[in-house]
């Protein structure tokens, strides 16, 4: 440590007794290397670009480690990554497919971001997604609206039911947390499994299409409009599958951004998330906010399910999500809970999921996601500590041991 690292103006100080994580003298003095790495707590906020640089670095390191595991499992990491890039950004057509994958990811990423802001660990976005899909399907299959309803009515009603179903699935753990202090991590996760079986029941037993494990295809009026639908007017759009869900997702980005940074409620969410005790002391109703945030989070994930089912799958079936809800957790973290960054990160993960379908072994995308999250959380300490290298013995230390 040098003197210039002391606060320049002496204005900002840590309370007495705050020790660095691993200060220069944490017993490492016995090292034989002439240099050693030390950490010390940051006294100033890092610049704005810094968190994003760290995220970027974490992803790069994660891809490196992922490559090692791929090679270990008998694959060719370079070929795998090149394939991912080609298969997701190689042409307008595949990029449109990437966007299609990114659409639900943006929504679940937002769902997780909102909940995580309040330190509510909603890892039930997957189940809320399934319920959103179920709610939207119910409009067609129950049916709530007749088959020949105009899309102008069909789509808003399906959105509404998707949102409501997702919100309901978020309400349950939110209520249990608020009322009985039930750990929401486990309850949301359990709700995921219940959601899958719930949908399966309807797919197999109620809405089965001639004994197959899927419902009949929705009427065209219940499909979200896709770019390719306008190919007659604009031939360039032929075959492009991007659908209205993207607009819904981008609108949700604006809404969530507004909630978080421009509304009273967002301030309350941030306050409770940072220090619930202080929030309680400032007169905030934490229980009500817990339920509300879980419901809005569930609603966003439900909307993702609705968008996927009406924009891509067009029927209710078992395999409607390659783990979107879980990927949303990673996206939220990678985007540092920033709604706009969520869009960009979602596109990257959309690419990974899209291209990953063809890569062998098939677990690679999942594993890479895991490694990314591990690297990301590991790199978090760089936000709190500065790392430096110093020459051993530059200062008189208690080296005599």
């Amino acid at each position: 440590m040098t003197d210039d690292e002391l606060t320049p103006d002496g204005k900002v100080t840590l309370p007495e007794g705050q020790a660095p994580l691993a200060g220069p003298t944490n017993g490492r003095g016995k090292s034989r290397f002439p240099f050693r790495i030390y950490l010390e707590p940051r006294l100033q906020e890092p610049p704005r670009w810094y968190p994003f640089a760290i995220s970027f670095g974490a992803v790069a390191i994660a891809l490196f480690f992922g490559g090692i595991v791929i090679a270990f499992a008998g694959g060719n990491p370079f070929a795998s990554y090149a394939h991912i890039a080609r298969a997701s950004f190689g042409s307008l057509g595949v990029f449109s497919d990437t966007i299609v994958k990114a659409t639900p990811l943006i929504l679940v990423g937002l769902a997780c971001s909102l909940a995580f802001r309040m330190k509510l660990w909603n890892i039930g976005a997957e189940g809320q997604f399934f319920l959103g899909a179920f709610g939207a399907s119910a409009v067609v299959l129950l049916p709530i609206l007749p088959e020949n309803t105009s899309p102008w009515i069909f789509i808003p009603v399906m959105m509404l039911f998707g949102i409501l179903a997702g919100a309901l699935w978020g309400f349950v753990p939110g209520f249990l947390k608020a009322k009985y202090n039930v750990n929401e991590i486990i309850s949301t996760l359990m709700m995921n499994y219940i959601a899958v079986h719930w949908n399966n029941f309807f797919i197999f037993a109620v809405w089965s299409d001639g004994g197959f494990q899927m419902s009949p295809v929705f009427p065209r009026t219940a499909w979200l409009p896709r770019l390719t639908d306008y190919a007659e007017q604009f031939p360039i759009l032929r075959g492009l599958t991007a659908h209205l869900g993207l607009i819904m997702a981008l609108a949700a980005v604006l809404v969530v951004w507004f909630i978080l940074y421009r509304s009273r409620w967002g301030y309350e969410i941030r306050l409770i998330g940072d220090n619930p005790k202080a929030a309680r002391y400032a007169g905030l109703n934490i229980q009500r906010n817990t339920i509300l945030v879980m419901m809005v989070s569930g609603a966003l994930a439900g909307l993702a399910g609705m968008s996927e089912i009406t924009g891509v799958v067009h029927r209710l079936q078992g395999a409607i999500s390659p783990g979107y809800g879980f990927t949303g957790i990673i996206i939220a973290w990678l985007a540092k809970l920033n709604p706009f960054a969520t869009v960009l990160v979602s596109i990257l993960f959309g690419a990974l999921i899209l291209a990953g379908r063809e890569i062998q072994p098939s677990g690679i995308p999942k594993m890479i996601q895991g490694i990314i999250l591990v690297c990301l959380i590991a790199s978090d300490f760089l936000m709190r500590y500065r790392v430096g290298i110093e020459r051993v013995g530059a200062e008189p230390t208690g080296e005599e041991a």
Partner: protein, 322 residues
């Protein structure tokens, strides 16, 4: 439907949860929350199975599973102890990492053919006890018997031995332990490892003993998460953890077995190969976990019990208090 057979199988199924729950319990007692149980179990199940196939020796598979679970748990340990990151997110990351890695390395394993399993046997004399004998001591896997031994040992260890006392101190008030020269970080690394090893063991118990094979993520089907829930239900007490585990094991078996017989207690069995009700039956373990959590949380509030006081918070020497 023979209730004894269901309970017998339930004890076997519950043994999986037992290992995972006890492991997580020990980790949490040291003050570290590791949500990655599911991932570590998958790693254990996969590595045990693939080792057994490669070598033909299930015992070797067991050993590898223990080491693999313990090893991958150290990712979490480094991130939360050394780097002091958020334990919840790190645990989630470990779940993804474990699941993803086991999927990649376990590719093709499901079609790998037969493998020799861990032995099952009856305990002479004990299996003659009415009711209890057939349930607990007849043709059970060696892992089940290991589970019986583990529970009292862990209970005694925590409450009546010196290292157990250190474990409690580190989880309750690490600063006090540190001031007396107990190495907080080293103990926490150790118990995260133990938790990982037991989760690996739980995984191996699935793939080499109770429901043999490798079925990717369906191998565990959320049991790691149920284990995390059971620790809360158990109020960090190994005996209660055993009770919860066997109860859940019995429930899982019941759901499978209740769909078999045509009649139940002299009446037509409404579950008899009824695919509709089957789906709702399969929701039960998960719904039950939530219910158990509600019970556990309410009880904790009523009796003012709590988690280990330092659970989830990194220990930084010199920072005050709990």
């Amino acid at each position: 439907m023979d209730l004894i057979i269901i309970l017998q199988a339930g004890v076997a199924t519950g043994t999986i949860l037992l290992f995972a729950t006890i492991g997580e319990l020990l980790t949490e007692r040291s003050g570290i929350l590791n949500l990655g149980v599911e991932g570590m179990m998958l790693i254990g199940a996969m590595s045990a199975y693939s080792t057994a196939i490669a070598t033909g020796n299930p015992w070797l598979g067991l050993l590898v599973a223990i080491l693999a679970g313990g090893l991958i748990s150290q990712v979490h340990a480094v991130i939360t102890i050394k780097l002091q990151a958020d334990q919840v997110v790190s645990g989630l990351a470990l779940t993804f990492l474990g699941a993803g890695t086991s999927l990649v390395l376990g590719e093709g394993l499901s079609k790998a053919g037969t493998v020799s399993l861990l032995p099952a046997f009856s305990i002479p004399l004990l299996d003659q006890i009415p009711i209890l004998g057939p349930i607990f001591f007849t043709r059970q896997s060696v892992m089940v018997y290991l589970g019986y031994l583990l529970v009292p040992l862990v209970w005694y260890y925590i409450n009546h031995t010196r290292p157990g006392m250190h474990l409690r101190a580190v989880g309750e008030y690490p600063a006090a332990a540190d001031a007396l020269g107990i190495n907080v970080a080293r103990l926490r690394y150790f118990y995260v490892f133990v938790g990982g090893a037991l989760a690996g063991l739980a995984g191996a118990t699935i793939s080499l003993a109770i429901s043999p094979g490798w079925f990717s993520e369906l191998t565990t089907a959320g049991q790691g998460w149920i284990a995390v829930g059971l620790v809360i239900f158990a109020q960090w007490d190994p005996v209660r953890a055993a009770f919860g585990s066997y109860m859940f094991g019995a429930l899982r078996r019941l759901i499978l077995d209740i769909q078999g017989p045509m009649t139940l207690f002299g009446m037509a069995n409404p579950f008899y190969y009824n695919p509709y009700l089957g789906f709702f039956l399969q929701m039960l373990p998960y719904a039950f976990t939530i219910i158990v959590l509600v019970i556990g949380s309410r009880e904790a509030v009523r009796k003012r019990l709590g988690s280990p006081a330092a659970l989830g918070t990194p220990y930084i020497r010199g920072e005050r208090g709990l």
